[in-house]
Symmetry: C2
């Protein structure tokens, strides 16, 4: 423990001796980024160590490290606020989650996912339907003065599943190739498409209501649905046809790092295209990982897919903590002081957690840990926040659809669902396995 | 070759079908970055393949890939201009060169460098003195109408050594642990300090001349020299004392990626401090690599320094091409059409190349390929450009110290010294070695 204190003191000393503000005046923002990266990496590893002592997945430590760094200013320690808002930290965080999902996708093939496809579909539909109804109900019950469109929007924020946390937990505990993992990951992809359709529908309804029209037009919603499903269909099916060709060609290229370079280019290309189709770029990165199969790498000889998985690990070790620490740093603990938001937050959180447990009913396979599937779908993460912030930007009859209090409650719900998942998911997957091997 | 064409067509097709402009309107700059990364990685690997067929180091291919992408607009193909100016590409390029120099530093220890320290010092001093005199002379000869301070500034742009190219070539051909490599790297670090002092002196003289003072004050120049040498002394000597402690503590931390996280944090911390001291951040990254020695990693058990070197490789494979492609993309081939700048550029280039050959006289060790040391010091890279752009911002008696034509000539000199180094350095190091083993 004294060692840890020493590292902690080092972080604090470094921040006092060389606060980013001291050279921000120099105009070179890359120095500030380096300072943030030092703080993020040290805090992530120290907190990861602490939660590992408690038997928890490292990702929980990284979230806690972020909460610490992001709220240091409350203790009078300044200089870390930029971790939340710095565009470069942001960008590295986004690359980190892309590389993480690409690596998780590599561990499965499209066939693996299709084999549990029916379960994934049911899980996704149930995981959208019940939270939507519960969220609407909570809204109607606790904020009856708001319009019914606001209640619907609240329901929508509970639909999304943020797959980053669950993917990291599965990787931390070495279970990312299990059937449960495939069902959850497949469901999360479908969820992203369903979420987009719901968001487009409700936004369309609000715009239509604002314009005094009775009903909203189906056109734009259909277009959103078409673009998103089109991307998935084209990337997965055309990708499977063309990719072997591209990679057997790439295998002939001479020079260092060809495999890594071409594979990352493929990952970023699909992430880019997913973004254009309106989906989250991580869906594209995951699809890229699914499409790549060991057979595509035969011609690389020694430099095969295992080298790629091995090579992605240090990239993930560097970049993924940036994502999770930043996610933690977005938590504003001052929010917890607002009592009027706390009740709504409590009700929303219960609805969010219970609602996703319906997912376990969607699993058709036998021998699958249904609880784990429901628990893995819990985190709302940044997707819920994106929905809420879109809602708070929409105005109906001069009033914001999502008020400040409601937005705060959604943020607290996102925090709790994010923090609660790593320990319970690990518990569910490891203790069940233990019971099975005992029995 | 047909495979290469296929990949090239893919790049062009992707850029036509999904130009970054089409979604830049969406406001999400990270999608644009993904597009640039795809283009950079694919172009780097394809051109790296082409130069490998000609027996050249991959880094030359990456520079050529950059020249291609950066000048595509001349062929009417748009969408790649941002590779030069995009702040995110910029930032990844800077991280890339840090990680590269950190890795190169890891391959040597401080003791290795001190053993050739006298040679490095002589090489650095000679490599600054002769180019400075030659550059001044070229200025006095070809632009006599400019002030003598402008001639001095021209001399200063020829002093700097850009170590990135040489470090990559040494790594590409597997010679980064050789004595020649250590002499060049040590000299480049000293060069950076000397360059800073020269830049501060001349800028000080210009400011003093502008204020009508006869002589410039020594104070600010001494401060710059003190800060830079202070950083090196403190980081290398104190670093050597404290680091074993920090790393034996870090080895006790549980959780994934501790070694990579703490090591990168150490690299970024020293790069950050070097930046504060006024040195190039890569000097700090290189120092961090030098300080870390295998003995610090004993307690990591399996996760030893070789794992760190192995783990840095994919990071470098991803990020270093971003640096070299961007460096190439900065080349504006339209500049070559300006005849009045071409003569000055030619004279400067000859002075730059010949001037650094004096370096070979500074080597005191026997059995060292002196030619290779001189050739390895040739590239001026971004350091020369930074000097020139500082000069073009300085005004004396209403006139810019560095005129547009002079700046263009400096840019061409930087291009030529950068492109000429990889082939000649490889030739010198591999053919001499062959002759030795033959004899």
């Amino acid at each position: 423990m004294t060692g840890m204190k020493r590292i902690f003191l080092l972080v604090v000393a470094a921040s006092v001796l060389f606060p980013p503000a001291a050279h921000a005046a120099g105009g070179n923002s890359s120095y500030t980024l380096l300072f943030y990266l030092v703080a993020i990496l040290l805090a992530a590893k120290v907190m990861g160590h602490l939660v590992a002592l408690l038997g928890q997945p490292a990702v929980l430590g990284e979230l806690l490290a972020g909460i610490l760094l992001g709220n240091f200013h409350l203790l009078g320690i300044n200089g870390f606020e930029g971790i939340v808002s710095d565009p470069f930290v942001n960008m590295l965080a986004e690359l980190g989650i892309l590389v993480l999902l690409f690596g998780v996708g590599l561990e499965s093939t499209i066939r693996d996912i299709l084999r549990v496809g029916l379960s994934s579909l049911f899980v996704a539909v149930l995981g959208v339907a019940l939270p939507f109804v519960l969220g609407w109900g909570v809204g109607a019950w606790l904020i009856p003065e708001a319009s019914s469109l606001a209640h619907a929007f609240l329901g929508a924020t509970l639909c999304a599943t943020s797959i980053g946390i669950t993917a990291r937990v599965l990787q931390d505990i070495g279970k990312s190739r299990d059937k449960e993992a495939r069902i959850i990951l497949g469901a999360a992809v479908i969820d992203d498409v369903l979420g987009l359709i719901i968001l487009a529908s409700i936004s369309g309804a609000i715009v239509a209501a604002g314009a005094g029209e009775g009903a909203f037009r189906i056109g734009p919603v259909a277009l959103v649905a078409l673009k998103a499903s089109g991307f998935l269909a084209v990337s997965l099916f055309l990708g499977t046809l063309i990719t072997p060709n591209i990679f057997s060609t790439a295998a002939k290229l001479k020079g260092p790092g060809v495999l890594m370079g071409i594979s990352l280019a493929f990952c970023f290309l699909l992430a880019h295209l997913a973004g254009i189709a309106g989906l989250a770029p991580i869906v594209g990165a995951f699809a890229a990982g699914l499409i790549l199969e060991p057979v595509h790498f035969q011609r690389f000889g020694e430099r095969n897919i295992h080298y790629l998985e091995e090579g992605l690990r240090p990239l993930t070790e560097f970049l993924a903590p940036v994502f999770f620490v930043q996610m933690g740093a977005r938590v504003d603990v001052a929010l917890l002081a607002a009592p009027e938001a706390l009740w709504l937050a409590l009700a929303l959180t219960v609805a969010a957690i219970l609602g996703k447990q319906a997912c376990s009913l969607g699993v058709v396979e036998k021998g699958v840990n249904r609880w784990a599937v429901g628990l893995g779908m819990i985190p709302r993460g940044e997707v819920g926040l994106i929905f809420a912030s879109i809602g708070s930007a929409l105005v109906l009859k001069g009033e914001r659809i999502i008020s400040g209090t409601t937005y705060t409650a959604v943020v607290i719900m996102v925090i709790v669902t994010t923090l609660v998942t790593p320990p319970v998911l690990k518990w569910s997957l490891t203790s069940r396995r233990k019971r099975e091997s005992d029995g």
